[in-house]
């Protein structure tokens, strides 16, 4: 069974086995709404907006806000500043990590209800666990950079874990070949969706020019696509022919 909701400026969907109690699904969405209220840069009264404006001292922020900002600082350092929470349109914007982290945390709620097989989708990023209803691996399609609304570039077989994609899609008068060799889609897999999402953003930000920092994330796999769909990947990632 599935439940879908628009949250945090995107769409979230929880897939759990049939017969899962509504209470569990309700708890997941209540948690995600709570995160949205604390971290929304659209809401002027959110903790993150108040810290950004200097109205709320970081030390006085709710514990999960402190936790997230500490993780963001670590990721900023580890990616050589390619992942950043400052310098955008909002003075402080950790949403590149928050969406994935909120899903990592939501998975704890699902697991604590005794559910081992589930998937949580958050605006193109996914955390899956256990097995899908119809097989032993989750099959995750990756959008084709040139025809994102119609075609898949490839399909991953995932035993459990996070899949995050950062990409630019082009439509219209694209001249074939004009962007050959340019990385337009970055997919990162690994244990945490928050980290995978931040790494995908970081790698995409400089067109995958420098990947050395990925040595510090040995559990995380990487799949790069050029505009024409040409694929490069690390051995972590298993694709279905």
């Amino acid at each position: 069974m599935e439940a879908t909701r628009p949250l945090m400026g995107t769409v979230f969907r929880v897939t759990v086995p049939d017969g899962t109690s509504d209470q569990t699904v309700d708890e997941v969405f209540a948690w995600l709404e709570h995160v949205e209220a604390d971290f929304s840069t659209f809401r002027t009264d959110s903790a993150i907006s108040r810290i950004g404006r200097g109205e709320l001292a970081r030390d006085d922020a709710p514990p999960e806000v402190l936790h997230v900002l500490a993780r963001c600082d670590e990721l900023e350092e580890a990616t050589g500043g390619r992942f950043r929470v400052r310098g955008g349109p909002a003075p402080l914007d950790p949403s590149g990590f928050v969406k994935g982290w909120s899903v990592d945390e939501a998975a704890l709620i699902v697991r604590s209800a005794g559910i081992d097989d589930f998937a949580i989708y958050a605006g193109g990023d996914i955390l899956c666990a256990g097995q899908p209803p119809d097989g032993d691996r989750w099959r995750i399609g990756i959008r084709h950079p040139e025809r994102p609304d119609q075609n898949l570039a490839t399909v991953l077989a995932v035993e459990g874990g996070a899949v995050a994609t950062s990409a630019a899609y082009y439509r219209g008068n694209h001249i074939r070949g004009s962007r050959d060799g340019v990385v337009v889609s970055v997919t990162v897999t690994g244990p945490s969706l928050g980290v995978a999402d931040a790494l995908a953003t970081a790698i995409f930000s400089d067109g995958a020019e420098s990947l050395e920092f990925m040595d510090r994330f040995p559990e995380y796999g990487l799949l790069l696509l050029d505009a024409d769909g040409t694929m490069r990947k690390t051995p972590h990632i298993v694709t279905i022919p």
């Binding site: 069974m1 514990p63 604590s112």
Partner: protein
Amino acid sequence: MRRTFAIVVLSGASIAFASRFTAPHTGVVTAADPSPYEAVTTTTRVSPGVTATPLPPPTTSTTIPLPPGVRIIEGPEVRMNRGLVQVEITLHYGTITDIEMVRYPTSDRRARQISLDAEPYLEAEALDTQSADIHIVSGATETSYAYIRSLRETIAVAAISADR
């Protein structure tokens, strides 16, 4: 050798949160929702012209029968900086099978372009692939906040009408 980066992401905040949580009525649209057969009413507005002949009624309604389990719900118009956004969702036994942006900002070309570019990605994202071979699709989408807000309100309308 490089230092590996062992980030401990989980704080357990969600569990602490959930332990205090009492479920309200949510109105989540799920596949299990047994939607009854419903017909949809479309409304055609006829603008009054300057003429001596009697005006036609300002509104005519036509009822179109739909296949069992299908409902179409038009969401409220959501006013955003760049103009009005409105979506229409099609439900089949409570599952969203189609989302259409029936109104998008046309006030300036840039806004219109953003709306048109975003629509297929947003739609693909919200619908997911229902192919037997794929469970979920990963890929960034050009998210429009107005679209999402309109969609959120439309789903709320859908949930209310499913309760009836």
